[in-house]
């Protein structure tokens, strides 16, 4: 389908697709098997200028927006969302700085993130604060011209591999949700260490670790924006990043669909390619419909999001839910189309199905996303005076 992409956007697609095909596909199974962080692929994506698509040119980026970033993520995800997650997570870590950082902070960190020289990561989740973000325990206490951080962040994507972390901590517990703030913490800061690497069901090429802060001193100028706006920064970051997470789902769905259709055309049973059976055709049709609908939603939403719309949270949540659910359904059906072969590690759909599950969980579970959509609908319709009856 023609999404009326610009010349430059098509180039981003083409380049990312080439990297996915030539560099990622051949190694994805092994990286998954060995739970190995894809440094070589990160280097290639960096050299291809893809880490800075959404970062303004004055900070060393390519000056594009969310759609540009989504296009690259989608193509990489088509080959492997473990790798695509590592790539996309660097953006998640960069957005707080990009959206609320001082000029000084932006100039200090964004060029390295844009060039891919340094990876970044986003530190929010804690063991007691998953969906319930407001219950985070990590604290930052002002001490002269420093803040002292204490606490532990859990399941942080790119943890240990990234060098630049945007970390949420409570600066004033008495203020409740208005008492949290974001800080930039660098790998190597005193008192900052990592927990063990988690073993996961899927996206095993990505690294997930704890961030441990024990009297971790960071200079006060690492505060992003000002004290107390931590939750706002987190929410705005998610608004920007969720279409990208959506692209992971679109790419993964497309990757699974491609394999399922190709296999169905080749696999002969009862003397015919199985694609000639309606039971298979209908499965493939549903997979294709959902994938395309997901893509259309992401492309439109990504463009919309670049205009900073008032309904950003609702749309971002919709992107996350729909694409995550789609990817889970499409990959599961892809395994079904391939039958026994699909269940074996020799074919890539087995990994795709394992990988898909995370899309319904991380960056806000799909249940939380539905809550957001519900709350936003309530607010939105509360503002409308007219009746539809």
């Amino acid at each position: 389908m023609d999404y009326f992409l610009t010349e430059e956007q098509k180039m981003i697609q083409e380049l990312s697709a080439q990297i996915a095909k030539e560099k990622i596909r051949p190694v994805r199974a092994q990286l998954d098997e060995n739970e190995e962080f894809p440094w070589e692929i990160m280097r290639i994506l960096a050299q291809a200028d893809l880490f800075g698509l959404y970062i303004p040119e004055e900070y060393g980026g390519m000056g594009g927006g969310i759609l540009e970033n989504c296009l690259a993520i989608e193509q990489v995800a088509q080959a492997c969302i473990g790798i695509a997650t590592s790539f996309a997570a660097s953006g998640l870590g960069a957005y707080p700085i990009l959206l609320y950082g001082s000029e000084e902070l932006k100039h200090r960190y964004l060029p390295d993130i844009a060039s891919g020289k340094r990876l970044s990561a986003f530190g929010l989740t804690e063991s007691g604060a998953g969906s319930d973000v407001s219950s985070i325990q990590t604290t930052a206490v002002r001490d002269g011209d420093h803040y002292i951080l204490n606490g532990t962040k859990q399941w942080i994507t790119n943890g240990g591999e990234a060098e630049i972390y945007s970390v949420l901590a409570i600066t004033d517990r008495s203020k409740g949700p208005r008492g949290a703030s974001f800080f930039v913490v660098e790998k190597g800061d005193p008192g900052f260490s990592f927990g063990k690497k988690e073993k996961k069901l899927g996206i095993r090429a990505s690294a997930t670790r704890e961030l441990i802060f024990r009297d971790c001193r960071v200079p006060a100028d690492r505060l992003i924006g000002r004290e107390g706006i931590g939750f706002i920064i987190a929410m705005k970051t998610f608004d920007k990043s969720r279409p990208g997470i959506g692209s992971l789902g679109v790419g993964l769905s497309q990757g699974a669909l491609d394999i399922a259709v190709e296999y169905a055309r080749k696999r002969v049973q009862f003397g015919k390619p199985i694609i000639s059976f309606q039971a298979i055709q209908h499965k493939l049709a549903d997979m294709a419909i959902k994938t395309e609908a997901a893509r259309a939603l992401i492309y439109c939403s990504a463009r919309h999001m670049d205009t900073d719309p008032p309904d950003a949270s609702k749309v971002a949540a919709m992107c996350k839910v729909f694409t995550g659910d789609t990817a889970m359904q499409v990959t599961t059906e892809a395994v079904q189309v391939l039958g026994g072969y699909g269940y074996m590690q020799d074919y890539p759909v087995e990994k795709m199905m394992r990988d898909a599950k995370i899309l319904q969980i991380y960056e806000g579970t799909n249940e939380i996303q539905r809550n957001i959509i519900g709350q936003e609908l309530n607010k939105e319709y509360g503002r409308i005076k007219e009746s539809f009856f």
Binding site: Q18, I44, A48, D49
Partner: protein, 263 residues
């Protein structure tokens, strides 16, 4: 330093194959790619550019659509490109091709180093590099796997031969043909890709190179293809069935009977 890389656009091997049943050539689409060995040559030049302020010009002889190959290479970081294209060039053998490339390199002028892939995957001759160098009367080294060092006037290279490796000191200007060990070609970057899209690519024909039509193309070629045919194929394959032990026994027996060496 000015480096020239000679490349060739070739049909992707995936698109040219013999149907195992009919023994006829099957072409699926006509996708063209940059000859893989030439990408190693591009990488060799880019590595030098990474470490110095070298300028790289890529040239190719081919039909107008060979421009795509040039843009591919530009998108990987090469500076300039020239397309050598003329109806008169069609049917060139290695001699006639080398004539055109040598003329183009002379026209570019002040070239210090020329890189070529070891051979093209469609013709597999490995002749154009050495012939071009001979016509330019410059030294050359073939099958180079590594550039050990480079100064203003010389380069030291390691070449791979059938017997081992050799280290040669080669005065510049020189022509080097490279093999895979030179290093995986880098991917394009978005910035280079955008530049490549817009880049003006000069097209030089026979007249621009000061070549007579008689000297190029089929009329400038010394060799001629008189027949093209499918190679004879082996008989039908035998699939060896049974348990692993049975398969081992059967294969061993068959190979013994076939008197293959080593067993």
């Amino acid at each position: 330093m000015h480096i020239v890389v000679c490349i060739k656009q070739v049909p992707d091997a995936k698109n040219v194959r013999i149907d195992p049943d009919t023994h006829t050539l099957v072409r699926q689409g006509v996708e063209s790619i940059v000859n893989p060995f030439d990408l190693f040559a591009v990488e060799a030049a880019l590595k030098i550019k990474d470490a110095s302020n070298a300028r790289i010009t890529v040239i190719t002889m081919g039909p107008p659509q060979a421009e795509e190959a040039l843009r591919d290479v530009l998108s990987r970081g090469v500076d300039d490109a020239v397309l050598l294209s003329d109806r008169a060039f069609a049917g060139s053998d290695t001699w006639a091709t080398s004539t055109v490339l040598a003329a183009a390199i002379r026209k570019l002028g002040n070239v210090d180093l020329i890189f070529c892939g070891k051979q093209a995957i469609d013709g597999d001759t490995a002749q154009v590099g050495p012939e071009t160098a001979t016509m330019l009367d410059i030294p050359y080294a073939t099958f180079v796997k590594k550039i050990e060092s480079l100064d203003e006037r010389h380069l030291k290279v390691t070449r791979q031969t059938d017997e081992g490796v050799e280290v040669w000191k080669v005065p510049m200007p020189a022509l080097i043909t490279v093999i895979k060990e030179m290093g995986e070609p880098r991917m394009p970057s978005l910035r280079h890709k955008m530049r490549a899209k817009k880049a003006e690519i000069s097209v030089w024909g026979a007249a621009d190179l000061g070549l007579d039509h008689e000297a190029v193309g089929l009329s400038g070629s010394y060799t001629q293809v008189v027949r093209v045919f499918s190679p004879s194929r082996r008989g039908n394959r035998v699939m060896i069935q049974g348990s692993v032990e049975e398969q081992v026994e059967e294969l061993y027996k068959l190979l013994k009977e076939a008197k293959v060496p080593g067993l």
